[in-house]
């Protein structure tokens, strides 16, 4: 016999099911209960940077849109700072960096308005440098500075749940007009198959002067989106 490690096991995941909207987006589901819903305003009115819209559909193995998805976005502000004590720097008042959307029940289209995030410091093992902060430098809650030897290209982290998805899927949205940064991005470069990298790149168009990025997600089949185990 050996001693027993006293760690707990993570609670196992279960599908969000077809009625996820009731719990997490009741207003969007046509169901008015809370004074205040969460996740509809990612950037807030004070956020600096370029205002953008991100849209897409989620497609299943048969090529059909999935119409009961919920997506959550997590992103840094235009200077690459997350609204979290462990991210060095400050965000604008009202900037949360987190949003939640559901798909249209008829079309499967989803979309959210935000600002384009800035590049974010990469972890040490990816070629970033983390060390005690210099006085004049941005510090995180642990007094560390991030020299940013290497940065990750601007990206929005996504988490996707739906009926039929047993455990939430993680992916990232990168931006078409950041080709140079994308080419240097340490996560992008982890993807061995170059033709799969483009599944993470949102295409850019202008609609009434507003940049709109298109990001379709393929759960399975040809051009399946790259999903991460984070």
């Amino acid at each position: 016999m050996v001693q027993k490690l006293d760690y707990l096991k993570e609670t196992p995941s279960q599908t969000a099911g077809p009625y996820v909207h009731i719990g997490l987006a009741p207003g969007a589901a046509g169901f008015d209960i809370y004074q205040q819903e969460l996740g509809w305003d990612i950037a807030g009115p004070n956020a600096k940077g370029e205002r953008i819209r991100v849209e897409g559909i989620v497609i299943d193995a048969t090529g059909s849109p999935v119409k009961d998805v919920m997506l959550e976005a997590w992103q840094a502000n235009s200077e690459g700072v997350y609204a979290h004590p462990e991210s060095p720097g400050e965000v604008e008042e009202g900037f949360r960096g987190w949003g939640r959307v559901i798909t249209d029940f008829e079309t499967g289209e989803w979309g959210f308005d935000t600002i384009k995030p800035g590049p974010v410091a990469a972890r040490a093992a990816m070629g970033g440098e983390v060390r005690p902060a210099a006085d004049e430098e941005l510090q995180d809650a642990y007094g560390r500075g991030h020299a940013g030897l290497r940065q990750m290209a601007p990206h929005i982290n996504l988490w996707i749940v739906a009926r039929g998805i047993n455990i939430g899927l993680n992916t990232r949205i990168y931006f078409e007009d950041e080709a140079e940064a994308n080419a240097e991005d340490p996560v992008m470069n982890l993807i061995e198959w170059e033709r799969r990298r483009k599944t993470l790149i949102a295409t850019r168009t202008l609609r009434d002067g507003l940049p709109v990025y298109r990001f379709d997600i393929k759960l399975q089949g040809e051009d399946e989106t790259v999903f991460f185990d984070i």
Partner: protein, 242 residues
């Protein structure tokens, strides 16, 4: 100086795999390529935070949060409570817990739910709360009914409450379902059985908690939730320098 460290890697064998043919909808919605393993960066170890200005204290009382004046939801009155912990058994304070469920007859207030059990005019079916400084949460609600669903011809979901939990980092994000001790439908449920390990399945079954029951008023069930834990800082040099 303390160093923020990574979270333990997720034990994918403890969770359901993406493709589980017994749960038919998963067949076309499951990635076929292996997930790409990422070492965590600031993008993964940070996550949204919530405060008391985001929610209302009544949000945690599903018996009353959608009821008309003086009314209350129909059904077996229950307290669902427990703690949100991490894998190091440390409580996670001030984290958002959201739930949704069918009413006592097994019917959701959702336009896509056409089950013949009636809508309860005084029951919405969703609630949310923040854990306290000890990681504790509680909801007051009614016990949801079992309901039929289209998987096999005669598939019934055991009574369950859907739960969404945040933690402090985006990589801890979790949605799961809470079942109730003693329900004979649990072991027959294809969705429960997407989880290969019986001990892992058992982790989703809330225990009848007579000590927390309010006599002559409300039965209680206890359901602890465990989110991913984080490496300690004792090996920080290796962590950052490798």
């Amino acid at each position: 100086m303390t160093t923020p460290a990574e979270f333990y890697e997720r034990d994918r064998a403890w969770h359901p795999p993406a493709q589980t043919p017994i749960y038919k909808t998963s067949v076309t919605r499951s990635p076929q390529y292996a997930l790409l393993s990422l070492q965590q960066s600031v993008s993964e170890i940070t996550g949204p935070t919530f405060g008391h200005t985001d929610i209302d204290p009544l949000d945690r009382d599903l018996i009353h949060n959608y009821a008309k004046d003086g009314g209350s939801a129909i059904g077996e009155r229950i307290i669902l409570h427990g703690r949100v912990l991490d894998e190091n058994a440390r409580p996670i304070p001030n984290t958002l817990v959201e739930i949704w469920q069918a009413n006592a007859g097994g019917r959701y207030r959702h336009k896509k739910d056409t089950y013949l059990a009636p809508i309860d005019p005084n029951f919405g079916g969703c609630g949310r709360t923040l854990t306290d400084e000890n990681g504790h949460y509680y909801f007051r609600t009614v016990k949801p009914g079992a309901y039929p669903w289209r998987n096999y011809v005669n598939s019934w979901r055991p009574a369950h409450i859907h739960m969404s939990i945040f933690g402090t980092a985006f990589c801890q994000r979790l949605i799961t379902q809470c079942y109730f001790e003693g329900d004979p439908l649990i072991e027959r449920c294809p969705i429960v059985n997407t989880i290969p390990d019986m001990a892992a399945q058992g982790q989703l079954v809330a225990a009848l908690d007579m000590n927390a029951t309010i006599p002559l008023d409300t039965i209680a069930y206890k359901f602890d939730i465990v989110l991913r834990g984080r490496r300690s800082t004792m090996f920080e040099n290796r962590l950052d320098g490798n």
